[in-house]
């Protein structure tokens, strides 16, 4: 019957399957990079998905990936504030000035193995790490990242620039160190 079909079309489970489930890998990747370990990342994703289910009615179409990742992101930062206070100390603008100096030539990226790279990425402040992970590992656009982090596109650009500069500095130090 058409009526029954209509009822099941707004079936929340079907909606959840279409809006949330397809982006679970990206959700986990973001949470894992922000939390720093498997166990907490799983908790964050589960918590975020419970919220996503509750907010399904608020999803007004559009980019379901960015919508879900924004929820994951908020859940993760709330978790970080509670469990990793030092991780969310506001970024020290003064400390970043030298990194931002446009006159300073960028260090060439040496050949490093994945473990060194992973450690370098983990050492970044969470906002910077998040921007790089979404951009380089997930291939998201500036617009999507801005939506997820609830910040202007200009901020996304400057976070990415600073994150890369920090990473290059870290890696070039590692690259010069004797192995």
């Amino acid at each position: 019957m058409e009526w029954k079909r209509y009822v099941s079309a707004i079936d929340p489970q079907a909606q959840f399957d279409q809006i949330v489930m397809p982006h679970l890998d990206e959700a986990y990747n973001l949470a894992r990079w922000l939390a720093g370990n498997d166990h907490d990342a799983e908790d964050i994703v589960q918590d975020a998905c419970v919220r996503a289910f509750r907010f399904l009615g608020g999803f007004r179409g559009g980019n379901s990936r960015a919508w879900l990742l924004a929820i994951v992101r908020n859940t993760a930062f709330t978790w970080l504030k509670k469990n990793r206070p030092p991780a969310v100390v506001p970024i020290d603008a003064a400390a970043l000035e030298e990194i931002e100096d446009p006159a300073e030539p960028a260090a060439a990226t040496p050949n490093v193995d994945a473990a060194v790279l992973r450690a370098a990425l983990e050492a970044l402040p969470p906002e910077f790490r998040e921007a790089l992970v979404l951009r380089e590992l997930e291939g998201l656009s500036y617009k999507e990242i801005a939506e997820i982090a609830d910040t202007p596109i200009g901020t996304v650009m400057s976070r990415l620039a600073r994150a890369r500069r920090l990473l290059q500095t870290y890696l070039s130090r590692k690259g010069n160190a004797p192995k």
Binding site: R5, A9, L24, D25, L121, I153, M157
Partner: protein, 249 residues
Amino acid sequence: MNCAETHPLLHAYTDGELDLVRSLEVEQHLRGCAACESQKASLQSLGSLLRNSDLAYRAPDSLRKKVRQIAPAPERGTRSRADNVSPLWKWLAIGATAFAVFTLVLRTPGNSDNSRLLDDAVAGHVRSLMAGHLMDVASTDQHTVKPWFNGKLDFAPDVKDFAAQDFPLVGGRLDYLDHRAVAALVYRRNKHFINVFVWPASSPNEPQPADKNLRGYWVINRQVNGLQYCLVSDLNEKELGELADLLGK
């Protein structure tokens, strides 16, 4: 463009987030500046290192199972029909969209529509020139402009280079105008960029609005072989008219 102007754009440039005009300007600077070129190369190698080091984590199956249970199955066994239903919704959505498009296309544009269209065209032109505006797509190779539109539009724009007449074609991109996706061809006369928006005319032989100057930009409309052309530039009316004549040939 000098180093100080190029520097803040390098990230957006390597990320493919810069609009066509800006990326051409950056490219031009990079060709003549070894320092900026090496910065760009360094950014690119960092990017490929990050992308190719297998750094992304994927959701474990155990998590997938747990998350899957968050949404309770609907009551009274209607669940199994969910799969049958989504096409119905899809058709409803397609129908509604088609209806909306249909009404928009059928509507004869009056004067207010024309001025809104001209306004939109100027806004599109200005947007494409702003450094902060980030485009989805940009092609900088003029020899790939025409095939590049394939599959992105429901019509094939006529793409010609007028370098011999001093209007070199510098590229193309997708834009949105008059409620539809349109081709935007970018030409240059000296230092002036010209956006030529192209889309199928809604009604043939429609009277064209007179050339108009809006906020310092000239807008010229022409209809050629069933295609609507809208030229926008800060170039003067006479020279812009020359390009319009070339396109009309």
